[in-house]
């Protein structure tokens, strides 16, 4: 898995970047580190055991990657293309995603808690047993996706579409939903209340 060493900067609670003693926020040559990291993953489809908290990426192509047991929490992704990627058992908590593409991705056992999604496209994806609790999502599209056992508890969903999705055991408990479309989906099998 990703390393569990805390950043050596005084008072910092983040985990240090893979191969470094500090997290990306406190590494002096931050841009070089990110550039090196992008160079490393450019040709390698497997992104495994990476800890890159506080990563900031814009206009990046991460298509068809296999991300496994990695930590990208507290990161920012703008115009990043994750299409056709597989993401397994990873952390993307408290991150920001703007204009990102997740089409035809397979996302399993991955945690996006507390993240924000703006104009993101997840259509045609398998998003199984993953966690979107407390997310803020606006103008997003999950159409034609399998969302089995995925958790949207306490999420704020504004103009989000779940058209023709599998919503069996998808949890929307205490979610705030404004202009959310469940057309052709089995929302009867989703959970909106807990007893």
């Amino acid at each position: 898995m990703f390393n569990f060493d805390i950043c050596k900067h005084d008072g910092c609670e983040s985990y240090s970047a893979t191969g470094y003693d500090y997290c990306l926020l406190h590494i002096k040559d931050r841009s070089d580190v990110i550039e090196n990291y992008l160079e490393t993953i450019k040709d390698d489809n497997l992104i495994r055991n990476y800890n890159m908290e506080h990563l900031s990426l814009a206009y990046a192509e991460l298509r068809n990657k296999y991300v496994i047991v990695s930590n990208f929490s507290n990161s920012s992704f703008t115009n990043v293309n994750f299409s056709e990627s597989k993401v397994l058992f990873s952390l993307f908590q408290f991150s920001s995603f703007k204009n990102c593409k997740f089409n035809h991705t397979i996302i399993k056992y991955t945690n996006f808690a507390g993240s924000s999604f703006e104009n993101c496209d997840f259509s045609g994806s398998d998003i199984v047993n993953s966690n979107f609790i407390g997310v803020q999502a606006s103008d997003c599209n999950f159409n034609d996706s399998n969302l089995y056992y995925t958790n949207f508890t306490n999420a704020c969903l504004d103009n989000v579409t779940f058209i023709d999705c599998n919503l069996k055991k998808t949890d929307f408990y205490r979610s705030k939903r404004n202009v959310v479309n469940f057309k052709y989906s089995n929302y009867e099998e989703a959970e909106f209340e807990r007893f």
């Binding site: 569990f4 058992f89 945690n111 507390g114 966690n131 958790n151």
Partner: protein, 199 residues
């Protein structure tokens, strides 16, 4: 310290291994089965399983014990003291173990109702079925849940925000996210079961 994750099809459960940076003795948590992938993970990283920690006695977390014991000379640690007719080292909440160079804190509700214990190694919390990402154990009785909530309020919620939660099923999480968004945990702030009735 290195931590390895392996998905087990039996009950869609998670198995974890904690080992040193190089080769050496390792701890396995909740071996739901010993499959080829898990075996390769152990052997290719030059690890030797010396300790088997069980969060609770349930097949998706224990089926691999017998196979592991045929290969490795390991001790098993559980709350019940016996699993699949195998005698284990009985551990109770509050105990501190020192295994393969790692300090292991045993946590949990000190009552039989929940049947689960948790293990903390450095800043990782192995929660078994007690705490999952966004949920507490659904199968608990209401009294068991109240006891777990009370325990969480008293102990776990004061741990560091960046404590990583590695549950027996489902995705990993952090204590910060659970504290902020897990409705069972946020409810603790609003609902305080009468402690006298709990004890």
């Amino acid at each position: 310290m290195r931590c390895f994750y392996n998905f087990i099809l039996n009950g869609f459960s998670n198995t974890y291994i904690i080992g040193p940076d190089g080769e050496g003795d390792a701890i396995i948590i909740d071996p739901g089965e010993l499959n080829i992938k898990l075996f390769k993970l152990i052997e290719e990283n030059n690890l030797y399983i010396k300790h088997i920690l069980i969060t609770h006695d349930d097949s998706p977390h224990t089926e691999g014990i017998r196979s592991l014991l045929k290969i490795y000379d390991a001790k098993v640690y559980s709350k019940s003291g016996e699993i699949h007719d195998i005698e284990t080292v009985r551990v109770d909440p509050g105990m501190e173990l020192h295994l393969s160079g790692f300090k292991v804190n045993v946590l949990g509700v000190p009552e039989p109702l929940t049947n689960s214990i948790l293990f903390k190694i450095q800043n990782i919390l192995f929660t078994g079925d007690s705490i999952g990402a966004g949920r507490l154990n659904k199968e608990l009785t209401s009294l068991g849940r109240d006891k777990l909530k009370l325990y969480l309020e008293k102990h776990l919620l004061y741990m560091d925000n960046n404590t990583i939660i590695l549950p027996g099923h489902g995705p990993p999480s952090t204590l910060k996210a659970e504290r902020m968004f897990n409705p069972d945990i946020t409810d603790i702030l609003e609902y305080h079961p009468d402690e006298d009735q709990m004890n």
